[in-house]
Amino acid sequence: MRYHTPQTFEDAARIAAAAQGVTRFLAGGTDVLVQMRAGMVQPDDLIDLKHIPGTQDIARTEDGGWRIGIAVPGIALGGHEALCADWPGVVEGMELVGSTQIQGRATLAGNLCNGSPAADSVPGLITAGAVVEITGPAGTRTLPVEDVPQGPGRTALKPGELVSAIILPPRGDYGGDCYLRFIPRTEMDIAVVGCAVNLRLKGGVIAEARVALGAVAPTVMLVPEAAAAIVGTALDAAAEEALAQAATAAAKPISDKRGTAEFRREVAGVLAKRAARIAFARAKGDTA
């Protein structure tokens, strides 16, 4: 195995593009190192990205959004007051990953690129409208987060490409988001169902909304029908019920060791309702 510590994303992309065998990028390493240890993957080239300047930074963008470095660990997101104030749903998704020790290493970029349909930080990124900056042999491009996952363990990244930053849009006024997951325990578990809701109010009514579900399909999925069920409402009981039904109807889960398909469909609706309530309260400025 060859271990690389490039100083720029362009160098990292060049190394990856030239590599012949199995290649893995290393940021926090909380997936890759575990997979190596379990014998699931034995990379020929391991490219450590943490040494690239800026990868540990959280910075305001010119338009008032956020640029998050690909090696920023969960604990740094949680400790960033302004980011938490803008996007609590994004941060709380990331903070659910693993234990305190894992939080010191695990990153948004890694959680996204691991390609798990149950990734806890991805639904919140999708509903926030986040995009990733991708560096590759052909230069730099951006892609909405919802277009990155392509199936379990697969992403839209081409050979030699890697995520070089995560960009969140400006929060704006009267917005709120939330991520909830269901696990049988209280922590240290993988989402059986996850749901993020992001919405914006205008005059007490939901003007815009995005709803995403995790762990109920081969990829985290954006559910426009669920969002449509609450737009134009003040999240009354009927709207909540319509939202739950839309989420349940959109879910395409499998039955596996973590839960049955029937259970996941039902709980997708429950979580959508609960997440929407919290996002709504946050949009109104309530502390929830």
């Binding site: 993988i190 060791k257 839960g259 049955t260 259970f263 709980v267």
Partner: protein
């Protein structure tokens, strides 16, 4: 109550730091994987990916050709002609003609590094012919079930049963039908429990060495070094006394480390590699796939009850699979199931059934939690139907001293009534519950075990004492044995060092199992100390020129027994010890026996849960353990046993369980998906130590380690019904099952 405030003893009942504590919290303690030796090789095990398959051919040539590989062993390297349990152990160590479960070892390699060994294991080519498999106990008894092994059944099995039924077990007394006829309510239900793993934090690890001269040594994480010695010697074909086994510190066992798994492989590999020591450390996945979980069970229970709560009769038929070998604890389950109740009539039968799963091992009160789940669940439902308080029902039917146990013998001194009284008096029972919350109560029972026990103690030149015991310290037994020894000798706790010693240092000891270490090794240590006291009194008498019988031992010193014995100042243990060389030589005490006088322990648990009606998630709000300890030598470690048993029982009840796919492969061989409770899942578990001293032990000890895992399974099922109206009869009661049960209950 624990006598922290009004003690009868100087030391017994106090809470000093455990002697092994500092090493354990600083990381200095040496566990199974912490030992290395010069010239050491690393072992790795090749395991079957199939639930049931004929081994057509094993080609080891590529593995042997890899640089750094020093030995490869298959079953052909082990002796033939073993019978009975020895054959079972050998067959489980390395598969012979067939792999019998997913994870069954088929070969092993030793190499100069762990990575080379793992690579070599991948290079061992095994041709399998996959055979039909069965993993469910009821399916394994069905007429069309694949036969795991012809001729495995013992003579107890009635004719006409499927060959997978390998043992039949039954007992009864009284007229069960007459009992049911007298009852106002007779109910019958079927319950199922899934296999669970002991889940010890430390995976199995050993360092074994065996020369061509048949002499060997082993460092191993185990509950019982003599069991390791006997079993390994049988499997690899050497004489027991030629193998010296030293136990490491142990990161949990719960019964699962009372037998062998990969330990004989380290010896077989070492023998083949010219006697170089071989270390094998299991991964978590190997632990879950191939070391002993408990059995899974399918149980029918029928009970009759009068309107006033009097139980008139009980009937139980239990079926358990304990993997591809005999040994499911169906007998223990039936013994314990009705134990807390006066049963005018019982009829119990049990079936031990083979299935394509790993060979089960003991797990904390083996069998008792399953039996309790069935009986205590049904009793709770009957109380509900009859409108009886479940505590009243338990008190009305509680066994007392002199009562005949449901399984036959007469109980001696027992503390069930005291436990129930303490439970009823506890403030947790009167805390009001809110919406979606419910309270569940259940009782539990476990025996206590004597077992072969050999202990030596010796007085040092400075008057301090060392005690050599053969029972590895899992839950604080060094501390409790030191307390009892110091109490007996009349010296400070800190002046006693208790050592867990290797097989060469003592006669045969059974493992730390059956809740026996503090009872049996403790009793023997007290006996040994009394031997030494007698000798010290004799030496003082000789110096004073009086009869030994005229000397008594008080507060760590010999003194004349009365005014007529003579006038001499007390002679302290340090004074006597200081001149032992000129007064007759070393002073020591020894005791060996299979101690009688075991003290059974009853417990009662009360749990409050809150159930999320929309997801089926169950939260434990509050948990109370009340249990009879006889006498708590070190109350903190007794409380620790109570809390640990409850924590494991909560896991078994809610989310733990072996999940097999259609292909018979274990789906969840990692802690991510084999869901033991995490710290945040549990409230601080409240404990009450009831003390009804065991007259069979010098300080009144009852074994306390196991009873605590028994009541949680039914207590939580009972609480879920109280919270939701839904009765669950199958474990684990995970959210999908609870949610489905809530919906079914609502639908009526």
């Amino acid at each position: 109550m624990a006598k922290d405030e009004y003690r009868e003893f100087r030391l017994v009942g106090t809470r000093p730091d455990r002697p092994d504590g500092l090493d354990k919290v600083t990381g200095r303690a040496r566990y199974g994987a912490d030992m290395t030796a010069p010239g050491m090789l690393w072992g790795a095990v090749v395991r079957s990916p199939h639930a049931h398959a004929r081994i057509v051919k094993i080609d080891t040539s590529k593995a042997e050709a890899l640089e750094g590989v020093k030995a490869v062993v298959t079953r052909a390297d082990l002796p033939t002609g073993l019978t009975g349990e020895d054959w079972d152990l050998q067959e489980n160590t390395l598969a012979g003609e067939r792999a019998l479960y997913d994870g069954h070892a088929v070969a092993a390699v030793a190499a100069t590094s762990a990575l080379i060994a793992q690579e070599a294991a991948r290079l061992v080519e095994v041709d399998y012919e996959v055979l039909p498999h069965v993993t469910d106990v009821d399916a394994a008894m069905a007429p069309d079930a694949p036969v795991i092994r012809e001729g495995a059944a013992d003579p107890t099995v009635p004719e006409g049963m499927h060959p997978n039924v390998v043992k039949y077990f039954a007992f009864d007394h009284g007229d069960v039908e007459a009992g049911f006829a007298q009852a106002d309510l007779v109910m019958e239900r079927t319950y199922k429990t899934e296999a669970t793993h002991q889940g010890y934090i430390e995976p199995h690890a050993c360092l074994g060495q065996l020369g061509s001269d048949g002499k060997g040594e082993m460092w191993v994480c185990t509950q019982g070094q003599w069991f390791i010695r006997r079993m390994c010697a049988a499997v690899v074909g050497i004489e027991a006394a030629q193998l010296r086994v030293t136990p490491s510190e142990i990161g949990g066992g719960f019964g699962g480390k009372t037998t062998i798994f990969m330990e004989p492989l380290s010896l077989a590999l070492s023998r083949k590699a010219g006697g170089r020591p071989v270390k094998i450390v299991m991964s978590r996945s190997e632990v879950l796939r191939a070391t002993g979980p408990t059995a899974s069970a399918s149980m029918d229970v029928k009970i009759g009850m009068k309107k006033d709560g009097t139980i008139t009769a009980g009937k139980a038929t239990f079926r358990m699979q304990g993997g591809a070998f005999p040994g499911a604890p169906v007998d223990m389950a039936l013994y314990c199931a009705f134990a807390p109740y006066k049963m005018p009539a019982v009829e119990c039968e049990g079936f031990d059934v083979l299935a394509n799963r790993p060979k089960c091992a003991a797990y904390r009160a083996p069998g008792s939690p399953m039996g309790a789940f069935a009986v205590e669940s049904l009793l709770d439902e009957m109380c509900r139907k009859l409108g009886i308080d479940p505590m009243d029902m338990r008190m009305k039917n509680a066994v007392r001293e002199g009562d005949r146990a449901a399984y036959g013998p007469k109980f001696g001194s027992i503390g069930l009534v005291e436990v129930l009284e303490a439970t009823r008096a506890h403030p947790n029972l009167s805390i009001p519950l809110g919406l979606n919350q419910g309270r569940g109560i259940a009782s539990g029972y476990w025996f206590n075990h004597g077992g072969e026990t050999s202990v030596s103690m010796a007085i040092s030149e400075d008057g301090t004492a060392q005690v050599s015991v053969g029972t590895p310290d899992i839950g604080g037994s060094r501390a409790s044995i030191a307390l009892m020894t110091a109490e007996t000798l009349g010296i400070p706790y800190e002046d006693v060092r208790v050592n867990v010693v290797e097989t060469g240092a003592l006669g045969v000891n059974e493992p730390t199992h059956g809740s026996r270490a503090t009872f049996a090794s403790g009793k023997a240590a007290v006996e040994a100390a009394q031997h030494a006291i007698k000798e010290m009194c004799r030496r003082a008498a000789a110096e004073w020129g009086i009869e030994p019988e005229a000397v008594e031992w008080v507060d760590g010193a010999a003194q004349p027994a009365g005014p007529n014995a003579g006038k001499f100042p007390p002679m302290t243990i340090a004074e006597i010890a200081g001149k032992m060389g000129s007064t007759g030589g070393p002073i020591s005490g020894h005791h060996e026996s299979v101690p009688g006088g075991v003290g059974e322990s009853f417990g009662c648990h009360v749990v409050d849960v809150e159930v999320d009606p929309e997801t089926g998630g169950v939260k434990i709000l509050r948990y109370l353990v009340v249990q009879d300890a006889g006498r708590a030598i070190h109350p903190s470690y007794v409380e620790g046993q109570y809390q640990g048993g409850a924590a494991q029982g909560i896991g078994w009840a809610l989310n733990e369980g072996y999940i097999y796919g259609e292909d018979g492969r274990l789906q969840n061989p990692v802690f991510l998906d084999y869901r033991v409770p995490v710290a945040s899942d549990l409230p601080m578990i409240d404990t009450v130590i009831v003390e009804v001293p065991n007259p069979g032990h010098p300080y009144g000890v009852r074994g306390v380690g196991e009873t605590g895992i028994t009541p949680p399974l039914p207590a939580i099922a009972n609480a879920i019904q109280a919270a939701t109206g839904a009765r669950l009869t199958e474990l684990p009661m995970n959210p999908p099952r609870v949610l489905a049960a809530i919906k079914a209950a609502k639908a009526g």
